[in-house]
């Protein structure tokens, strides 16, 4: 009889974790596909206003302009006055044209004529600053712009 009895150890067999890497890789690939590398290091506070009548931004033909108060860690150095950021650095209002032309050069050549300016402006900024930017854009003949917003509605809160 004892011949047929299987040798049984009293310990539980270890749980196989062989599929764990596969699961994590799946997550990894998911994130690699749906996200893009962050290209601009944000130097200003950027809480966008809410709107619900929106269009999608065509990313391949747009140039970003950020504006708002400097982020808290830069406030010691640059103060709390609202600033404009293009690319990776603060830009003066008189310097916008140069910075934008530079940014436009980086786009695909066939899209440079259809360039769209995406304004990411903090909701606490004064409209005066936005108007100044728009005036510069008109002088540059970059007439298409889009005010980037977050989904939602100002009325609902």
């Amino acid at each position: 009889m004892s011949k047929f009895r299987k040798k049984k150890s009293n310990e539980l067999p270890p749980v196989s974790t062989a599929s764990l890497p596969d699961i994590v890789f799946m997550l990894l690939f998911f994130f690699m596909v749906v996200t893009v590398l962050r290209d601009d290091n944000l130097l200003v506070q950027n809480k966008l206003p809410k709107a619900d009548q929106v269009e999608k931004l065509k990313k391949d033909r747009s140039v970003y302009i950020y504006a708002g108060k400097p982020s808290s860690r830069y406030q010691d150095k640059f103060g709390t006055e609202a600033k404009i950021q293009i690319g990776d650095k603060y830009t003066d209002i008189t310097n916008i044209k140069f910075a934008l032309t530079e940014m436009r050069q980086k786009l695909l050549p066939e899209l440079q004529d259809k360039v769209m300016v995406a304004l990411k402006v903090d909701e606490q900024t004064n409209t005066g600053m936005v108007t100044d930017i728009k005036q510069e854009l008109r002088e540059l003949n970059m007439l298409k712009l889009i005010y980037i917003t977050t989904p939602g509605n100002e009325l609902s809160n």
Partner: protein, 208 residues
């Protein structure tokens, strides 16, 4: 000789490596979901002869430095702005029989308000100290007024909503060039019924 089983490779650290990679991607990337209110700026040119707009065809929205709304010289809450704009655009005040008569308007036909949607202009004026939040909220409400009317007309003419079809076209859900062009044409027809005429006056300096 009995075949020996190949020893199992220890893959325990593979998960850790994959986690490291995953965390790296989580930190350095963002999910882009930018959308917003698109606008076309007027080009800079000397306007020799500014077009005359009758006062009744002009809907003046003023926003002051304290983010208060003054619409047609009356104080107004933001939540009422959309309805007021719809009423103005949809008024169709031109008498029937005149060339400007608007046969699809369902408004009150008040002769004191706009003649027809093509003539109606909404003018927004801000103070330089108006907050950007309020500015966007006002723009959003005005665009919403246009979208509401365009939706209504496209529903009447074609049985679908203007904003929904525009979105589908944007997202590439409409397949085939012919179908896209046909839809584009219909969208333009609806747009022509309620052309967006939003003008922005130069902002005032505070205190003026």
């Amino acid at each position: 000789m009995a075949r020996r089983a190949t020893p199992e490779v220890n893959a325990g650290s593979m998960a850790d490596i994959a986690f490291l990679l995953l965390i790296f991607f989580l930190v350095t990337t963002t999910i882009e979901k930018d959308s917003g209110i698109a606008r076309q700026l007027p080009p800079i040119e000397e306007i020799v002869d500014p077009p005359k707009i009758k006062e009744k065809n002009l809907f003046i929205v003023n926003v002051n430095r304290n983010d208060q709304l003054l619409v047609e010289e009356k104080l107004m809450e933001l939540k009422d702005l959309r309805q007021a704009a719809i009423a103005f655009l949809d008024n169709g005040g031109a008498p029937s029989g005149s060339p400007e008569y608007c046969n699809y308007c369902k408004g009150q036909k008040n002769p004191e308000s706009s003649d027809n949607p093509d003539k109606a202009v909404i003018s927004v004026q801000n103070d330089r100290l108006t907050s950007y939040k309020m500015y966007i909220a006002v723009q959003n409400e005005l665009v919403a007024a246009y979208n509401f009317l365009r939706d209504r007309e496209s529903q009447r003419l074609y049985g679908w909503k203007f904003t929904e079809k525009t979105k589908e076209l944007d997202e590439g859900k409409i397949k085939g060039d012919a179908a896209q062009e046909a839809l584009q044409e219909k969208l333009e027809t609806v747009q022509k019924l309620f052309p967006m005429k939003l003008s922005e006056a130069e902002p005032k300096k505070s205190g003026q």
